[in-house]
Amino acid sequence: MKARVTIMLKQGVLDPQGKAIEHALTALDFDGVNEARQGKIIELELTETDQAKATAQVTDMCEKLLANTVIERYDIELMD
């Protein structure tokens, strides 16, 4: 089973990368970009086949390692 973890900075946390991308897009004459935010994505190939167990396992990974919950929030998506 495959899991995809999306990690974004929490609302309100400064996102310098997003800000720089916004500027750069404007400088390239792309109009109509009101906001850009950058995050990370981590794709995991798991041996686990049970959905619930996989979710629990990946949540644990996020809390312990993948995300920095001080400033980031995460989202887990499972795919087969």
Binding site: P16, Q17, A20, I21, H23, A24, A27, L28, Q38
Partner: protein
Amino acid sequence: MKASVIVFPGSNCDRDVAVSLEQAMGQKPNMVWHADSELPPSDLIVIPGGFSYGDYLRCGAIAGNAHIIRPVKEAAEKGAMVLGICNGFQVLTETGLLPGALMRNADLKFICKDAPLSVETSDTPFTKGYKQGQTISVPVAHHDGNYRADEDTLDRLEGEGRVAFRYADNPNGSARDIAGILSENKRVLGMMPHPERCADPLLGGTDGKALFTAIVEELS
């Protein structure tokens, strides 16, 4: 000889390379602001090291789209010499003036130290002051110096004598130990190591000096 150093927001080796150029040329280079759309007449364009735009998004990506890049490319097409050091090398790959890409170092850490390099070709206007096969020591200081290109590109670079420098002790995982590469006409050089950091005996080495001297000889 006329030289220009391009300054992006976040460039931080612009002054350092200007000092080395001045020592070699006897005159100060032009410092050219990234937002300018025109380049003063230049035989040599230097894209310095640093963190243009904070290295946000991808090293060199945002700088690769700056206004000044179009005239830089035009000048390169007309045969001007272009030297990209560190972040400058990253910018040159982003603009397409050099092939490939520079990824995060294999061990994921920023690395700053003297790196022994082997000079792979002395048959270029940049490296003619060295002997082919000579080992020189030049500092590296980067987080993303891990050179990548597909196998065909790598073969072609090697086949055409376009690998300028290789690491004697690969610090970052670069494909085929590549530390610096040249354009087809060998007038564009991108390299991760910093020759401007070893062109003054007080700074602990002078192996970089021959590169600047060669450029000045070529262009005067």
